[in-house]
Amino acid sequence: MRSVSVDLNNDASLLIDIPDALCERDKVKFTVHTKTTLSTFQKPEFSVPRQHEDFIWLHDTLVETEDYAGLIIPPAPPKPDFESPREKMHKLGEGEATMTKEEYAKMKQELEAEYLAVFKKTVQVHEIFLQRLSSHPMLSKDRNFQIFLEYDQDLSVRRKNAKEMFGGFFKNMVKSADEVLISGIKEVDDFFEQEKTFLLDYYSKIKDSTAKAEKMTRSHKSTTWNFFYLFIFLTLKLGKLSDLFEKLRKVEGRVASDQELKLTELLRYYMRDIQAAKDLLYRRARALADYENSNKALDKARLKSKDIPQAEEHQQQCLHKFDKLSESGKRELTGFKGRRVVAFRKNLIEMAELEIKHAKVSNIMTGSHAERTHTLLD
């Protein structure tokens, strides 16, 4: 079973990880490391430098490949976002004059830690993308994927130009319009009908949950920051309580980041994954619509007794495509379900355990501190 947090490589024949990444201004360069026993690769082990855009390119080509229409394409990793820590860093630089050296150093340290956390997360999501590809029976054999892994030069993927950007935007518009259009088509398979309503509902819910969870973790973090200021202040002025505050803050910070990692990230990932599943459904519905259209065309052709063979052929093609899509779609969606449940289970358990652990630690700390306060102040 695959899941977000489980190691996706059950298959030792192709192991991918990102052991290193470099951040150069806006660009993040990931080192993609591959270890394989497959003969399709020239060497058993190699590393290549890749950028975020390369990942996007890979994802897009996979989506556009006709053969994979029946698959849930793993969602592309989100763009690295270092804005918030960077902004804070900037603010810190501005406020340098108003702070003492110690304060400044502490703040800086704190920000660096935050920055690192974001960085780490970014690396992780990219890694997961590749790992999901590698563990997929079909996608792992994709030519582009192999090129992505193996080609040791810069892929120099052409960045999308304005026209293409617009084109993509337009395509999205068409797609959503199309979605509305084909939603009128009667579903022939109950499974997909159910799946569709479920996914649509689920998507809206999980989207909401994600937003809320994000908000929650964000305010948790700002609470932590506030704690931090309080701590700094206490350290400088008052001494004793500060170490407790410092420790509590650390734990609190960890609670926040664990929550983010285990809950928010999970929700976020599955939101994207569901989107991918929805895309699959769309492609299938599209195929269904095509098939019906071809049926109509065939009927028309028969009426006019013109071009019947072509129309028949086309209809057959569409039917075949649709069947294929339905079949693989069914498989994929069932797999997705299992994957989702397992991932949720794992993450929820981990989160609960971490929460307990953190709470216990802070409990012990507070307890000992309370004792100490008693004895100290008596």
Binding site: A117, D243, V341, T366
Partner: protein, 784 residues
């Protein structure tokens, strides 16, 4: 995700790994690093204005900390404490053998002693000592130091049974490094093997001069492991006893005045007190009340130790027999030692004082400040540097007795009376007392907010000019009250009322706990009388309010114009302190307030997530997962409640208290202003007198006898006024001084109480949290 994170590059510290490290720190010996921190911090804290006194206080501050921190260690692992007992005592008895050897080893000199103390973290103390050059004093310091070293050591012995090399290393961890250095440096005199024995070298040095002291210290230190709980008391005690000895003497005269709550503490303290009595001392020490802070209300303690002591004191010749006795004690460390412990200790102190009767005077100078600093800093962890208060304490004496009265006032049941804009809140003021000045033991009256204000007006009018710090009530809040008046069941209105109720209660408690204010008939009337004449002048927008504003403005102007050449450094320093404390509290207040706001936000967001998670759970088609999600929603719901409680806790425990003290500091400043006004009056009178005299001289010269008579009368009148005003000024000064010290004590006490309360509620909410998540865990595991 977790798996991949572990493989990520070294610069990214894995959160879990880090975690483990930290939690180890917490559970185990994080104390060491704190040590350093604390020392460092306190070293910066007090403004060193006076060369001798503040340094002394600072030292004691420093000295106090390490032991208590170390104490933390055993507390954290009570289980291991048990196991430590045995090896520790074994090691201890071993030590005692060494110890006897050492007594014969007369190598060290006084010079050594000073050298050693230089290695101590608190160099200042040594400087101070150097200037005083009182050998016995130095010994005491040294003994303390060695106690610390020994303590570190004995702990080491406890944790890994005396392998010298390891032990040394460990000791460095568990006790401040400088101290170990100290013992090492001194060990060069004696040819003891490294490791555990080293620690006792300083003791050996000391033995030359006063074997008894070291004897006493030694058993004490050895007892530390068996009595882990009392450990901190033992450790902190040496400083206390040494420094607090002198001031306590007069306190001692009253046997019912129990100073310390904890038994061990008590015993040794008491013996000290007794000892003071017997001692032929020259100076009558001031009753230094600051020690009272350390133990608010206590049980009566055993008398025997004191008796024991007085017996011992008679036979207090320093001899080998004492030493052997000490070692006997050492050998017995397995048992509960409190008795032997005490009398030996008592002997030691007697010896000390007998040795140097003439130095008592000087000692006092050192003792007192350190005593105060010690107790103050211990009690008032949140207060500002107290060093400046020190020299004063010799003068502020008897009045500083415990002013606890048997009266408890509570403000309850806020109730809205009336409707619309004429509505007001009435509170139930209940008093419980056994004081004879009240007619009943318990009584309850209803008071409205303006009554509280009216009481304050009366009190401040009467007592303010005399330099009393009249506790101020919470400010009028038009905004808050409007909310209450308009809003029906708004939570912010309820919040406001509760805040105000708490503030009023604390205000009244402060008033009745003030010895002078309690005597005021208005206070009694406020508490007792059924109907109170309506306080009219308290309305913010009334004519009286306007007048008050004008008065305040003129006050402010005159304050600026008065240039007082301060004759008393104490007041100058205190005023500065008050100012800076005010600033700190204000900043702290905003920080805590914003923390509260953030928490509230967090609780809101958590609530909305909980709802959303519940929705998600309903959408989920896997039954178990759906169930787990709705469980998660429930947990988050409870979390929201916790966050909310925490916010309230922050508010009521901290923000409100801080707000109180900001107000109080205003009152303190007011009392300083009153003193300044008194001074100004005096100065004006003096100027006037001067003028009159000049007029007289002129008249004399102009030879106008009729007017001369008048002028003479006027001069006499003004002379009387000048003396009167001068006396007033002196009186106000004395009151202000007393009040400020009382205020600081109160502050320390309140903060302590509040911190403890805060921590307790924090503990509770953490436990809740654990409970919730633990209940959730099986649900998550049940997802198949």
């Amino acid at each position: 995700m977790a798996t991949s994170s572990e493989r990520s590059p070294p610069p990214f510290p894995d959160s879990e790994d880090q975690y483990v490290l930290d939690s180890e720190e917490v559970g185990g010996r994080d104390c060491d690093e704190e040590d350093g921190e604390d020392l460092f911090m306190s070293a910066i804290e007090p403004p060193l204005t006076d060369t001798t006194l503040p340094t002394a206080s600072q030292t004691s501050d420093d000295l106090l900390k390490p032991p208590s921190d170390i104490m933390n260690n055993p507390l954290n692992e009570p289980a291991s404490g048990q196991t430590q007992n045995k090896p520790a005592s074994a090691a201890v008895s071993e030590h005692s053998d060494d110890f006897i050897d050492l007594t014969n080893n007369v190598v060290a000199t006084l010079k050594d002693a000073t050298e050693i103390s230089l290695d101590e973290p608190s160099d200042d103390f040594v400087d101070l000592l150097g200037s005083e050059t009182e050998p016995p004093r130095e010994e005491v310091v040294l003994a303390d130091v060695s106690v610390e070293a020994v303590m570190g050591k004995s702990e080491v012995a406890g944790s890994d049974t005396d392998s010298p090399g390891d032990g040394k290393q460990e000791a460095k961890e568990s006790s401040p490094v400088p101290i170990i250095d100290l013992s090492e440096s001194s060990s060069s005199n004696t040819q003891q093997p490294p490791g555990t024995d080293k620690v006792f070298d300083p003791l050996a040095d000391l033995l030359n001069d006063s074997p008894l002291i070291t004897d006493a210290k030694n058993p004490r230190s050895t007892t530390t492991d068996p009595f882990i709980d009392e450990g901190s008391d033992l450790f902190s005690e040496p400083w206390q006893t040494k420094s607090a000895k002198q001031p306590q003497k007069s306190l001692f005269g009253e046997p019912d005045e129990d100073l310390f709550g904890e038994p061990l503490h008590t015993i040794s303290k008491k013996t000290l007190n007794k000892e003071q009595k017997n001692k032929p001392v020259t100076t009558k020490a001031a009753a230094d009340d600051t020690i009272n802070i350390t133990g608010p209300l206590q049980e009566s303690k055993p008398v025997e130790p004191a008796d024991l002591f007085s017996e011992e004191a008679v036979a207090s010749a320093p001899s080998i027999s004492n030493t052997s006795k000490a070692s006997a004690v050492n050998a017995k460390t397995n048992g509960v030692l409190s008795e032997e412990d005490t009398d030996i200790f008592a002997e030691a102190t007697v010896e000390l004082s007998l040795d140097s009767p003439r130095t008592e005077r000087k000692k006092e100078v050192i003792d007192k400040p350190s005593a105060t600093a010690l107790s103050l800093s211990a009690a008032a962890s949140l207060t500002m540097p107290q060093a400046a208060a020190l020299e004063e304490l010799e003068e502020v004496e008897e009045e500083e007795q415990e002013d606890k009265f048997d009266i408890y006032v509570s403000v309850k049941d806020p109730e809205k009376i009336g409707d619309g804009m004429n509505a007001y809140m009435a509170y139930k003021v209940s008093t419980q007392t056994t004081l004879a000045m009240f007619r009943n033991k318990t009584f309850t009256v209803r008071r409205r907010f303006s009554d509280f204000l009216g009481l304050y007006e009366k009190l401040s009018e009467k007592h303010g000019p005399n330099g009393f710090i009249v506790p101020p009530p919470p400010e009028k809040s038009i905004l808050g009250m409007t909310k209450v008046k308009v809003g029906k069941d708004d939570s912010s209105a309820a919040d406001f009322v509760e805040r105000r109720r708490g503030a009023l209660e604390r205000y009244l408690q402060r008033v009745v706990n003030h010895p002078s204010l309690l005597q005021d008939p208005d206070v009694r009337e406020f508490l007792e009388r059924e109907e109170l004449p309506r306080a009219v002048s308290t309305q913010a927008l009334s004519g009286a309010g306007f007048l008050k504003m004008i008065n305040k403005a003129t006050d402010a102007v005159s304050k600026m114009t008065i240039k007082m050449n301060e004759s008393d450094v104490w007041f100058e320093e205190k005023l500065q302190e008050v100012e800076s404390a005010d600033q700190h509290f204000r900043k702290l207040h905003t920080l805590v307030e914003s923390l509260v706001i953030h928490r509230k936000e967090l609780s809101l967001n958590t609530a909305s997530f909980a709802k959303s998670a519940a929705m998600l759970g309903s959408a989920e088609d896997n039954t178990a997962l759906s169930r787990a999600l709705s469980q998660l929603a429930e947990v988050e719901d409870k979390m929201e409640q916790l966050h909310q409680d925490q916010a309230a806790n922050d508010t009521f425990s901290f923000a409100e208290l801080i707000a109180d003290f900001i107000r109080l500091l205003g009152a303190v400043r007011g009392s300083f202003d009153q003193r300044m006004k008194a001074w100004q009056r005096w100065q004006d009178a003096q100027a006037m007198l001067q003028k009159k005299r000049e007029t007289e001289a002129k008249l004399l010269w102009a030879n106008k006898p009729d007017k001369l008579q008048l002028a003479k009368e006027e001069i006499a009148e003004w002379e009387a006024k000048v003396t009167q005003y001068e006396r007033d000024f002196e009186r106000v000064s004395a009151t202000v001084r007393k009040e400020v010290i009382r205020f600081e004590k109160e502050k320390a006490k309140h903060f302590k109480r509040q911190i403890v309360k805060y921590l307790e509620s924090l503990l509770q909410s953490q436990q809740q949290l654990i409970k919730y998540w633990e209940a959730f865990l099986p649900e998550a595991k049940a997802i198949a």
